[in-house]
Amino acid sequence: MKAIVRVKTLIIAGLVLSVFLAFFISPFASKSPDGLEKVAERQNFLSLGDKLVWRHSLLAEYLFPGIKNERLATGLAGLTGTIVAFALAYMIAALLRRPGGRGGERRQDSNTSHRSG
């Protein structure tokens, strides 16, 4: 197992890629209904999903509020969601991880993995 790239580099590359996809590419994604929506449309039960129970989604329809340009609104909504996903998952992981753990220590014994994931 050779480590060719530093972890930091990989993390930054991953974050840049995600932000790039969410902000620049998502506005050009297909607008067609997805698999479930299409099935619902064909089987005439799409209207069952018309009533939202939670109506306070700030970025509903993946559009950033107050932005007239739809592509920019989608890109900004995507960017926001990506950052929120990163921050929330990072915080939860940091809180849950074993206390006092030092990453380097487990490198040796991790091959004999006893971790029941």
Binding site: A3, L10, A29, V53, R97, G104
Partner: protein, 218 residues
């Protein structure tokens, strides 16, 4: 296949909410042991990537689109339970902030896309890995097969919930859901295999499943 409010009955949503909540509890308590400090940023990146890539709907046959799910990718990268937590976080954000997936159907969505696709997909991946030769190239064969299956089986469970809710008869909704997701699953397999190839080429030691299968020459 994010289920909106109104598609699935209260009974089914209650059961899937309970199962999903228990699984979140188990995954959270196990994370103390099976989440390394250096993997913490990787958890954040995986969530960010899964969220971003899920926005990229690509066209499949007949005016339908599909998007990447990422459950198996997260499971292989981070371990099945940590990957499940990432899927749960992404689905909660999508439901609350984006109205993508109903709040009442959140349990069903976490069940289908976190438990079935993620944990179930990972079991398929492990079984296939054991059956195939332990070579680097063969790591990607179970990855692509299991990622395709993860989407197809999740859609099958989704159709089962719709049928049990009386929304649509099983004989109609099951073949329709599985049919279209067999196509969407091809995209899933391509993206999962590509991302894992890149991580394998740069930092194979970060892949949880690479450690689980130490006999694989990375």
């Amino acid at each position: 296949m994010h289920i909106p409010d109104g598609f699935v009955s209260g009974e089914i949503n209650t059961v899937t909410y309970a199962v999903s909540a228990i699984t979140v509890g188990i995954a959270a308590s196990r994370a103390k042991k099976n989440l390394e400090e250096k993997s913490v940023p990787l958890v954040g990146i995986t969530a960010a990537f899964v969220f971003a890539a899920q926005m990229l709907n690509f066209p499949v046959a007949g005016g339908t689109s599909g998007h990447f799910l990422g459950a198996l990718l997260a499971a292989i990268l981070l371990g099945p339970l940590n990957g499940f937590l990432v899927m749960a976080v992404v689905l909660v954000i999508q439901s609350i902030l984006f109205a993508d997936g109903g709040i009442t159907a959140l349990g069903s969505n976490i069940f289908n896309m976190g438990i079935v696709a993620g944990l179930g997909g990972f079991m398929i991946f492990k079984v296939l890995s054991i059956l195939l030769p332990k070579k680097r190239l063969y790591f990607l064969v179970p990855v692509s097969l299991a990622s395709w299956l993860s989407v197809v089986v999740a859609s099958a469970f989704c159709s089962l919930e719709l049928a049990l809710s009386g929304t649509s008869p099983f004989s109609i909704v099951f073949p329709a859901m599985v049919g279209v997701h067999s196509l969407i699953g091809i995209g899933e397999a391509i993206i999962t295999t590509t991302v894992l190839s890149v991580v394998m080429a740069s930092r194979p030691d970060l892949i949880y499943s690479g450690k689980l299968l130490p006999e694989i020459q990375m």
